[in-house]
Amino acid sequence: MSKELNIWLDNLLSDIESVQFQRRNSRRVRVDVGSEALPALLELLQGRASYVHLSAITCVDWIEDGQFELVYHVWSYETRSLVSVHTRIPRDPGVYLSIYDLYQPAAFFERDIHEMYGLYFEGSPDMEKFILTEWNGPPPMRKDFDGEAFVNEHFHWEQYHPQWLKDLEEEGGGITVRPEDVR
């Protein structure tokens, strides 16, 4: 099985430049590819190598590099192996191509990434909000959105003051370290 994998991966390498691949074990392959070549690579993977199941699309925000990393996990029912195709695109303006015409499940993942990261996919059938329909803030999964700060700014907490605490405070004790202090 892995032999076949080798053969087609070699073929693939001849077709597309700028592909790096790395086999992690018999069922996991990591492929790094430039963003311009990714749709073609996926098309090859799907068409030639039976990787018909798009397991997931993950977006990772590498804010320090100013990039979004997109990882396409595709699975072949025949060779029983999973290829993770990694590509990086600039964080700004954050537009990329949809692969909906290759893999229909991409619609959900692309929509999800759009609302969570603000990354727009051209050609995706539906870029409307799904989960955050009533959210006006920035795309929350971006690293520059500090969820905890947002919470502290917008919410307040239950102010407990039970009798035992009052008693302790009378005796000179009381709260010393709040959980917020150690975070």
Binding site: R27, R28, V52, H53, L54, S55, A56, T58, C59, V60, D61, V71, H73, W75, Y77, R80, L82, S84, Y103, Q104, P105, A107, F108, F109, D112, M116, F130, I131, L132, T133, E134, P140, M141, F145, G147, E148
Partner: protein, 380 residues
């Protein structure tokens, strides 16, 4: 008192109208919404609306230590929490290069199958309730509760066991647990004919569920359907066998399939999987006493645990389908990114929308329940 200060809307003279399913609706699994456009009883278009259970898990996990997240992950799928814990732990173990002791792997398999049993009992119980068959639901949930009792004994928690941590499991199996588990399996097996009589062979149910929400195998593959729903279209695919994890490759079990691709087939697949899970559990009960050794490999102090940089994609077969975690570590004490690929994120949105179109109003709830779509997995 008049109700609200609303004006009755004048609908345009048309047979078409819109109807909201949920979020507060018994035909919805969990807290989810679904809007359908109807012509008479036929659904013209359907639109899912999620986010009612959105907590921003992936964001929360980036802000917590690796080990703290084990308390968080089971919440992602409430009816079937164990695969979440196991999958997350597997991902970290892969990143950190931890060797899980064999005994822990077997205990994990045991939990996973217990959880699958519980989730399936819940799933077809819920499906039965959408067709008005409350007795099945009452039975199913009550029998599921017996499994939860065993979970409580094993893990200390009824629903959220928080029992798996990276490196293994948290406690040794209590004395006499396997015997009690074994007698529970006997009981469940003896209940299966009752369920058959009441539900799976019930002609009214079969009439009701046949050809409801049917999809072909090609459609299923195109839409990214996984798990029992895919097997109900005749494709024998199971992550446990085809991308094995833990000790599933040492276990003897079959992958039930059904040809129909409809709500009935999906339920029948679940029914057969009950049997297979019981079979696996019996093997585990038989093997576990002979596998000795630690139940956890040593892990660093959780407060100061830097998982080596890298990324891992681990997959687990949950009761709903393919569950996957993509975890990125930059070598810090917290994950840099965790992506949860909930199986229902396909089923509850695209597949549900596609299947609902052209179906009947009375079948919409059935379709959702037969897909066993779990909204918290979608919303996260």
């Amino acid at each position: 008192m008049r109700p609200e200060n609303y004006q009755a809307k004048n609908h345009p003279p048309s047979h078409e109208f819109e109807l909201n399913f949920g979020p507060n609706h018994p035909g919805i699994e969990g807290n989810y919404a679904f809007k359908v456009k109807l012509n008479g009883d036929t659904v013209l278009s359907a639109r899912a609306d999620g986010g009612y259970l959105h907590r921003g898990f992936e964001k929360l996990m980036e802000g917590r230590l690796w080990i703290q997240n084990i308390a968080l992950v089971p919440r992602i799928c409430v009816p079937d929490p164990v695969p979440m814990e196991v999958c997350y732990s597997l991902a970290i173990e892969e990143l950190g290069g931890l060797e899980v002791p064999e005994r822990a792997q077997w205990i994990r398999v045991m939990q996973l199958e217990m959880s699958r049993l519980a989730a399936h009992l819940f799933a077809f119980g819920g499906h039965a309730a959408t067709t008005g068959m409350y007795t099945t639901m009452f039975w199913g949930v009550a029998d599921r509760d017996l499994i939860l009792d065993r979970f409580e004994e094993l893990t200390g928690g009824r629903v959220y066991s928080i029992y798996n941590i990276p490196g293994g499991v948290r406690r040794e199996v209590p004395d006499g647990f396997l015997e009690r588990m074994s007698s529970l399996l006997d009981y469940l097996e003896s209940r299966l004919p009752d369920y058959d009589n009441l539900f799976f062979r019930n002609q009214v149910f079969i009439k009701r569920a046949r050809d409801v929400g049917a999809m072909t195998q090609e459609q299923a593959l195109k839409w990214g359907v996984t798990g029992p729903n895919l097997r109900a279209t005749g494709l024998a695919f199971d992550v446990r066998r085809d991308d094995p994890y833990l000790v599933y490759d040492q276990l003897d079990f079959e992958i039930p399939t059904e040809p129909g691709g409809d709500a009935l087939s999906r339920n029948l697949v679940r029914r057969s999987e009950l049997k297979q899970s019981i079979r696996i559990l019996r093997q585990v009960i038989e093997r576990l006493p002979s596998i000795r050794g630690p139940i956890r490999c040593p892990i660093p102090n959780p407060l100061a645990w830097n998982v080596p940089a890298g990324e891992s994609y681990t997959r687990v077969e949950s009761s709903k389908g393919e569950l996957a975690y993509y975890v990125v570590s930059t070598g810090g004490d917290k994950p840099y990114r965790v992506h949860v690929r909930g199986p229902s994120s396909m089923h509850a949105v695209q597949v549900l929308e596609n299947l609902a179109v052209g179906s009947r109003l009375e079948d919409v709830a059935q379709i959702m329940f037969s897909l066993d779509a779990c909204p918290p997995e979608v919303d996260r």
